[in-house]
Amino acid sequence: MAYHMAIASPKVRAEVVEVSGFPRLAQRYNIYAVPKIVINDRVSFEGALPEPLFLSRVLEGVSSPAEASGE
């Protein structure tokens, strides 16, 4: 889903990170379950979401102020 959003919009960058090689990132983002999706370091959720809900989290991540970080 993230990759398709990146293809659809020049404003979206999508990265899949296989965390076993990046333990510090796993720690930083509190990865206890996968997939864990983090948007603009502000909004995060675990597990697969249907497209409309995934989109709503992306929109939330783009529009929410940085201070509202849940991380």
């Binding site: 889903m1 993230a2 990759y3 398709h4 959003m5 990146a6 293809i7 659809a8 919009s9 020049p10 404003k11 979206v12 960058r13 999508a14 990265e15 899949v16 990170v17 296989e18 965390v19 076993s20 090689g21 990046f22 990132l25 796993a26 983002y29 990865i31 996968v34 997939p35 864990k36 999706i37 983090v38 948007i39 603009n40 370091d41 497209e51 409309p52 989109l55 992306v58 929109l59 991540g61 783009v62 529009s63």
Partner: protein, 150 residues
């Protein structure tokens, strides 16, 4: 020992031949391409990832693998947004911002395969509503999807 078994190789080769549209470049950033890197966990992961990608790229004339040292080619890494290794930029007719970090093994090999096909086509499989919302996105979105290899 090759990563891909003969039957998997045949399946992937056929899938790429059937599904790919345009060519795809895999810009792979690793520890070093000069042989000066020190063995260690990061080096081992990078080497394993490189071997997988070499096997993968050999399965289609439309997939080109370019290997870069992240220190020797730090400008290229920066321009591709690669800040850790192993890091891979999957680039088609344009750079859509599709990246993969870590080992593309196990279930994540399928992620790589799907990403290459999607980038090759340059079109997404999203609904009209989602496309409309993305077209008016008020700012940049950096989506990170954290996964494990199993």
């Amino acid at each position: 020992m090759p990563y891909l078994q003969a039957q998997d190789e045949a399946f992937v080769r056929q899938l790429l031949e059937k599904e790919m549209a345009g060519d795809v470049t895999l810009d792979f950033f690793t520890t070093s391409v000069s042989g000066l890197a020190m063995p260690g966990t990061e080096w081992e992961i990078c080497e394993h990832a490189r071997k997988i990608l070499e096997e993968f790229a050999a399965l289609s004339p439309q997939v080109r693998l370019q290997t870069h040292g992240i220190i020797a080619e730090s400008d290229a890494a920066r321009s591709r947004g690669i800040d850790k290794i192993p890091g891979l930029a999957i680039v088609g007719a344009e750079d859509y911002g599709v990246r993969f970090f870590g080992m593309p093994a196990g279930y994540e090999f399928s992620t790589l395969l799907e990403a290459v096909i999607a980038v090759s086509k340059g079109t997404s499989q999203l609904s009209e509503q989602t496309l409309a919302a993305l077209a008016t996105l008020p700012g940049d979105a950096h989506i990170q999807v954290f996964v494990t290899p199993t």
